[in-house]
């Protein structure tokens, strides 16, 4: 149903804005988990007339992984490192929100002409997917804590996945599973590294990791 997809798209935008504007790390993790849930629901809804096993497997696996396992990993990393809040980012929280709105406008400009290429109903999804990727990049670039950067990476991956869904790109099951596995292991390795960083440095502020330079 087109409207349900639209509603999910709006929810996704709100989750992105939450990610941009929130300083509490737990809230940021919840926002990214919400993104994954929304995308899983959208994947199922978009294919509702002809639901086959492949779609269900991918949707369930990706939601379980990105909304369940990975947030759990990151929450553990936060707990070990003792960090609770994000320090004021390089461009400030309110400014981040405003830049995010600007990016949203840009994505609308780019995405609206592209909606002619897709099946009816996913027009908003293209814009939202580009916005999610852009939000992820903005978070990676402007935040200091390592955990937030990992969340930005996850948001980027969510955005790219949403883009694939909007254009109904059917990658083979093996490749989709491979991508999911890669993302999972990536966040896993990043989580372990964050744990080591917090043990070694007593903080997870990547801005202060500046021993190596020319």
């Amino acid at each position: 149903m087109p409207t349900a997809l639209d509603l999910l798209g709006v929810l996704l935008i709100l989750a992105n804005l939450r990610l941009l504007g929130s300083s509490r790390l737990a809230a940021c993790i919840r926002a990214v988990a919400l993104q994954a849930v929304i995308l899983g629901a959208a994947a199922l809804l978009a294919n509702l007339p002809d639901l086959d096993a492949r779609v269900v497997i991918i949707a369930v696996a990706s939601t379980g992984l990105k909304a369940g396992a990975l947030p759990w990993l990151l929450r553990r990393a936060i707990r070990e490192s003792g960090a609770v809040r994000e320090i004021e980012p390089f461009i400030g929280f309110t400014a981040s929100l405003l830049v995010g709105v600007g990016l949203l406008g840009l994505c609308f400009l780019i995405g609206s002409p592209l909606s002619a290429h897709v099946a009816a109903g996913s027009g908003l999804l293209i814009t939202v997917s580009l916005f999610t990727t852009a939000t992820g990049l903005l978070v990676i670039v402007s935040r200091r804590k390592a955990v937030t950067q990992v969340l930005g990476y996850l948001a980027m991956e969510n955005g790219i996945y949403a883009f694939g869904m909007a254009f109904a790109i059917q990658e083979p099951l093996l490749v989709e599973m491979g991508v999911l596995l890669d993302v999972f292991v990536a966040v896993f390795v990043m989580g372990i590294t964050i744990y080591n960083i917090s043990r070694e440095f007593d903080h997870i502020d990547t801005d202060r990791l500046s021993a190596l330079k020319d």
Binding site: T133, I140, Y153, I160, D182, V185, M190, N196, L212
Partner: protein, 489 residues
């Protein structure tokens, strides 16, 4: 055979991780797997295997070339590693800052090394661009623990930078893959395999294809070390153990290059070859310029080698972009650079162990103190800087000839300028290191001049020298086949 090439290292890697206490068994496993992989690769030259897994895994000429380089480097590296691991004490003092640190568990190191080999094999064997992506990301993940072998804060910082920058870049490459899939929506079957894309290249939407190439270039270029996405390279190479640096520079950067070449070939087939060529040439020149600037007065010889890698990746990109004769030159350069850089990094490991410092200013009198490593180091520098009689001279000359033949005079001028600056800068550091009287604490020759420490670099150097002097015809055919398969002919 393709399955064996993948599964043997994977199985061995997982097995090695479980062998926590049997050190000798682990090292033998490493050597045996490397030998088996090399043997299978050599066999593939004679009995070309058929594609498997719906045609997603296969070896064409370019894949075989890249795979052979990887395999032979891994052989040399594993020989070095076996001795290196036997020699390393469990708790060490950091040379630069004097702090105590431990190493990561050796089982994890060996296991990740083998998994690294498996993932690089996957990249070389992939005929499906999605699977290629999975392989490239997997190499990042397999090599990150390798960089964090010496557990101190600098290597941790290098690991984090490597992980994050490469993962973000590769995520952009995934976006590029999806753009490619959208571009392919006009073709009868939307498959991201190289065969399908090349066959249906005329029906690919040009705008989406260009955007896809841009993203894939930036994404895989991050992994390859092209400036300005190279910022993880010097840190990772200087802090990782020398063996890992050798493999990263010699094998991993090539894998990323293979990814870019695949898409460049598709662009060429679709008639957009000019667009992709210009981008490749541009990024190549920028990489060379950045490397030239940062090599001057570089205080750390491992960082110097890392920037040299950036430079040579730039040369590869330049050659691939110019195409034709320069394209073949870049294939030859690939082989030469991989062997030379691996040799140099292994030698750097020896120097580090002997002098306990990474500073180019403090190392003196190499030729006197280390009678085997020193001359090899000097020879390696001559090779990497592109002087005859080594192979890199030939390949760089071919690329220059290709540039001038194609009328790109400005490009050729910039190319020569960068090469000249790098030669002068590296010469200053290396000659200062080689001559003079040794000052740093140098242990007896026996320790560092053991067979495992000297024979692998010597073998690699000999190959590079041989390639500079004589080009066997079968190699020439293989290189031009590879160039054609990679779309740079």
């Amino acid at each position: 055979m393709l399955w064996l090439l993948l599964l043997i290292p994977t199985g061995a890697g997982l097995l090695a991780m479980t062998l926590r206490r049997q050190a000798r068994l682990r090292r033998w496993l490493l050597l045996a797997t490397a030998a088996a992989h090399a043997a299978l690769t050599a066999l593939a030259w004679f009995f070309r295997p058929e594609p498997v897994l719906y045609g997603w895994l296969g070896l064409d000429h370019a894949s075989l070339l890249f795979l052979s380089i990887t395999s032979s480097l891994f052989m040399a590296a594993s020989a070095y590693t076996a001795g290196y691991l036997r020699r390393e004490p469990p708790r060490k003092t950091d040379f630069q800052e004097g702090l105590l640190f431990t190493d990561a568990p050796e089982a994890r190191f060996v296991g990740c090394l083998l998994l690294f080999l498996a993932t690089m094999t996957l990249v070389a064997e992939s005929r499906h661009l999605g699977l290629l992506w999975v392989g490239v990301e997997a190499t990042t993940l397999a090599s990150a623990p390798l960089i964090y072998f010496h557990r101190h804060h600098r290597s941790l910082e290098a690991t984090w930078k490597y992980l994050l920058i490469c993962s973000v870049g590769i995520a952009l490459a995934l976006q590029g893959n999806f753009f490619l899939a959208v571009a392919a929506k006009g073709t009868p079957e939307v498959h991201l395999t190289i065969e399908h894309l090349m066959a249906g290249s005329r029906q690919l939407d040009p705008l989406w294809l260009k955007a896809a190439f841009l993203l894939l270039l930036v994404g895989y270029g991050t992994k390859m070390g092209l400036a300005p996405m190279h910022t993880w390279l010097p840190d990772a190479h200087s802090e990782a153990p020398s063996v890992v640096s050798a493999l990263l520079s010699g094998a991993l950067l090539n894998c990323a290059f293979l990814g870019i070449l695949r898409v460049h070939a598709i662009m060429g087939a679709a008639g957009l070859g000019d667009f992709s060529s210009q981008l490749l040439i541009g990024l190549g020149l920028v990489s060379m310029a950045v490397a030239a600037v940062f090599i001057i007065e570089q205080a750390d010889f491992k960082r110097m080698l890392a920037y040299s890698s950036v430079e040579h990746m730039g040369i590869l990109s330049l050659g691939a972009g110019l195409g034709g004769l320069a394209g073949m030159g870049s294939m030859l350069h690939l082989v030469n650079h991989s062997f030379t850089k691996a040799m140099l990094f292994l030698l750097a490991g020896n120097i580090l162990a002997a002098y306990r410092t990474k500073s180019t200013r403090q190392v003196r009198g190499l030729l006197q103190a280390l009678p085997l490593t020193g001359p090899l180091w000097l020879a390696g520098f001559l090779a990497i800087a592109g002087s005859p009689p080594f192979g890199l001279f030939v390949s760089e000359l071919i690329i220059l000839k290709g540039a001038l033949q194609g009328g790109h005079v400005l490009v050729a001028t910039a190319y020569l300028l960068a090469l000249g600056v790098i030669f002068a800068a590296m010469a200053r550091s290396v000659l200062q290191m080689a001559y003079g009287t040794p000052e740093g604490a140098v242990p007896g020759p026996a320790r560092v001049q053991e067979a495992w420490a000297v024979l692998p670099p010597m073998a690699l150097g000999a190959i590079v020298l041989a390639l500079g002097v004589y080009m066997p015809p079968w190699l020439q055919t293989a290189l031009s086949d590879a160039a054609r398969a990679a779309g740079v002919h």
